[in-house]
C-alpha cells in the first residue's frame, strides 16, 4: 500500500488526475483532478448537468474515460474495473433495492453478488437487521417500508461486503429532517471505521457535514476545500451562498 500514500502520509482512496469524458464535441467532465483520503467524507456537489454523474460513473468503473487517469482503492479505472467494483459500495436515491423482494431477500441477493459465503450472509444479515431494529419487518416487502427506512437499509446493504469506498448519489432526497440526520449517523459510523465516503447532495447543510467538498461547474471542479475554508474564501456565511456564487456562473443550460 506504500504507493497509495501521498506526500503528507495520508492514505489515498481515490486519485483522479485530469480525468476527462467527452461525448462527441461535448466535454461532460473536463480534466478533473482531486484526491480523497481513507475514512474521509468527501462531498461532491454541482448543479444539475454539471457532470457529477459522468464523473461518478468513471470512478465506479462503469464508464471508460476519454483521457486522464484515476485509481480507486489503488485500482486503475481503465484496466481494473472489476477489482474496483469489488472494492466499492454504491447507493443512489433512484435505484437501490428491489421493491418486490423482502428485506431479507434483498440483503441475501446483494451479499451473494458480492461473494459473501452462506455463513457470512447468515451472520451479517442477522446483525444488520438487529442494528436497524427491523426484526419485525425482515420478511416484509421492501415496498412496504417508509422511504427513510429504505434509505437506511440501502446504505447498510451497500456497505455489507465491507467496501473500502462507498459512493452515495443523493442518498437522502425527500425524507424528513430527523430521518435525514439518522442517516448521517450511519455515514459518520462508517467513516469512523475507515470507510471512505463519496457523497453527492443538494442539501447544503449536508455539505457542511463533509470533511471536504468539491463543487463542479460546467464539467470542471470550480472549488475544493473544507466547508469552513470555502466560506472564508468567498466571504459568506453559508455553503448555500458559496454554491450560489459558483453555480450561477454556469453556462450549460442545466444539461
Amino acid at each position: 500500500m506504500e504507493n497509495h500514500k501521498n506526500g503528507r502520509g495520508e492514505e489515498v482512496s481515490i486519485r483522479a488526475d485530469k480525468l476527462t469524458k467527452q461525448y462527441g464535441d461535448f466535454i461532460a467532465a473536463n480534466a478533473i483532478s482531486f484526491e480523497v483520503y481513507k475514512g474521509e467524507i468527501f462531498g461532491f456537489l454541482g448543479a444539475n448537468g454539471a457532470g457529477k454523474t459522468t464523473a461518478m460513473r468513471m470512478l465506479c468503473g462503469l464508464s471508460t474515460p476519454s483521457s486522464g487517469s484515476a485509481t480507486i482503492a489503488g485500482f486503475d479505472v481503465y484496466k481494473e474495473t472489476e477489482e474496483i467494483k469489488k472494492n466499492i459500495g454504491y447507493m443512489s436515491q433512484k435505484f437501490s433495492l428491489y421493491e418486490d423482494l423482502t428485506i431479507l431477500e434483498n440483503i441475501r441477493f446483494y451479499g451473494g453478488i458480492y461473494g459473501l459465503s452462506r455463513g457470512e450472509l447468515r451472520e451479517k444479515s442477522a446483525a444488520l437487521i438487529a442494528r436497524l431494529g427491523l426484526q419485525g419487518e425482515a420478511n416484509k416487502l421492501v415496498a412496504s417500508l417508509p422511504l427513510g427506512w429504505k434509505q437506511k437499509l440501502a446504505f447498510s446493504v451497500a456497505v455489507l461486503h465491507q467496501p473500502r469506498i462507498v459512493f452515495l448519489d443523493e442518498p437522502t432526497g425527500g425524507v424528513d429532517p430527523v430521518t435525514r440526520r439518522q442517516f448521517w449517523d450511519l455515514i459518520y459510523q462508517a467513516a469512523d471505521q475507515g470507510v471512505t465516503i463519496f457523497v453527492t447532495t443538494h442539501y447544503m447543510d449536508e455539505a457542511e457535514y463533509c470533511n471536504r467538498i468539491s463543487i463542479m461547474v460546467d464539467g470542471s471542479i470550480a472549488a475544493l476545500d473544507t466547508p469552513h475554508r470555502l466560506k472564508q474564501q468567498f466571504g459568506v456565511a453559508s455553503m448555500d451562498e458559496v454554491f450560489y456564487q459558483l453555480a450561477r456562473e454556469a453556462k450549460r443550460a442545466d444539461g
Partner: protein
C-alpha cells in the same frame, strides 16, 4: 375569500385501512402562496390528488373555487392547474407539441395565454423541437409548469416541483412562483426542503397524514417554546454524542457546521448557555463555541416531530 377548504379530509389505503391523510382541515385564501411541508409519506400527494379530483376521499370533504371535489369535478378540472411530482408529459412529443396539446385539451390556444408563461417559456423555447423525454430535469420542470398554466387556471397545485433540483434552479423556480402569485393565482406547493417554507405566505407542517402546525412561517418560528443554542467544538461527532448526554438537553442534532441544542426556557438564556459550555468543557472537548441562535423552520419541524413521536408512543 377562501379558494380552497378542507374539512376532515381523509384517505385510507390497503386492507389495513392505514390513513395516509387523517382528518385534515384547513383553508387557503385567494391569491395565497400556501406550502405543504413534510417528508415523503406525510400525505401531501394524496391531498393534491383529492383536491385535483383524481382521487376520491374516504371521509370528510373539500372544495376548490367553491366546487365540491366529488360532485363538481368537471368544473374543478377546467379551472385548476396540476403539476404532479412525477414527470407526466408525453416523452415522445416535443416541447411545442406538449404545450399545444394541453392548450387544445382545455379549448384554448398558446397565443391566448402566452403572457402567463412567457417568462418561463422563453428559457426553453430554443429547444422547442426537442422531445420532452430528452430534456434535462430543470427543463422538464419548466415545461411541466408551462403546461399546467396554459389554460389560465385560478389555482395552481405543484407537488414537489423542486425535489432533486439543485439550489440555483430551486431559487429560480421560487422567483417564478412569486411572479405568478403577483397575477393573483392561488398556489399550493409541497416541498421537503424546509428552507423553501420561509418563502410561503402560510405553511402546514405535515407528518404521518396529520398537520402538526399551520401558520405563517414567522409565527411558527416565534412559537418555538425552548431556548436554542448553536454549539461548535473541535470534534463534531464527539460533540453530538456529548450534547445528547447532557441532562438539560431537550433535543440536539447536527445543523450545518454547528450542533443545535434546545434547553428549557425556564433556565434563563445566559445561565443555560454558560452551564452548557462549562459541562462540555469538562468532557474534554476543545475550541468550544456556544451561543443562542434563532430557530429556523427546520428546527420547528424537528421539535414538532419529536413531540409527535413522543405522544404516539404514549
Amino acid at each position: 375569500m377562501q379558494t380552497i377548504t378542507l374539512n376532515g379530509l381523509t384517505k385510507v389505503y390497503g386492507k389495513e385501512k392505514i390513513p395516509a391523510v387523517n382528518e385534515v382541515s384547513f383553508s387557503v385564501d385567494q391569491g395565497e402562496l400556501f406550502g405543504l411541508i413534510g417528508p415523503d409519506g406525510a400525505g401531501k400527494t394524496s391531498i393534491f390528488r383529492m383536491l385535483t379530483t383524481v382521487l376520491l376521499p374516504d371521509g370528510g370533504g373539500a372544495t376548490v373555487n367553491g366546487f365540491d371535489v366529488v360532485k363538481d369535478y368537471r368544473q374543478i378540472r377546467s379551472s385548476v392547474g396540476y403539476m404532479p411530482g412525477k414527470f407526466s408529459l408525453y416523452p415522445d412529443l416535443s416541447i411545442e407539441e406538449n404545450l399545444s396539446f394541453f392548450a387544445t385539451v382545455f379549448n384554448t390556444t398558446i397565443e391566448e395565454n402566452y403572457h402567463l408563461i412567457r417568462d418561463i417559456y422563453v428559457q426553453i423555447e430554443p429547444f422547442k423541437k426537442r422531445r420532452a423525454g430528452k430534456l434535462s430535469g430543470g427543463m422538464k420542470q419548466k415545461l411541466a409548469l408551462c403546461c399546467a398554466l396554459i389554460h389560465k387556471p385560478t389555482v395552481l397545485f405543484l407537488d414537489e416541483p423542486t425535489t432533486g433540483v439543485d439550489p440555483v434552479s430551486r431559487k429560480e423556480f421560487w422567483e417564478m412562483l412569486k411572479r405568478l402569485k403577483a397575477q393573483n393565482i392561488t398556489i399550493v406547493v409541497s416541498t421537503p426542503y424546509m428552507d423553501e417554507a420561509a418563502l410561503c405566505d402560510r405553511i402546514a407542517l405535515m407528518q404521518d397524514g396529520k398537520i402538526l402546525s399551520i401558520d405563517t412561517p414567522a409565527n411558527i418560528v416565534s412559537a418555538y417554546p425552548d431556548q436554542l443554542f448553536a454549539v461548535k467544538a473541535d470534534r463534531m461527532y464527539a460533540l453530538l454524542s456529548a450534547v445528547a448526554r447532557y441532562d438539560n438537553t431537550i433535543n440536539s442534532y447536527a445543523f450545518g457546521e454547528y450542533a443545535h441544542v434546545s434547553l428549557p426556557a425556564a433556565l434563563g438564556q445566559e445561565a443555560a448557555g454558560a452551564a452548557l459550555k462549562n459541562w462540555l468543557a469538562q468532557t474534554g472537548l476543545e475550541a468550544l463555541e456556544v451561543f443562542p441562535t434563532e430557530p429556523t423552520i427546520e428546527d420547528c419541524f424537528i421539535k414538532l416531530t419529536m413531540d409527535h413521536l413522543a405522544s404516539a408512543k404514549n
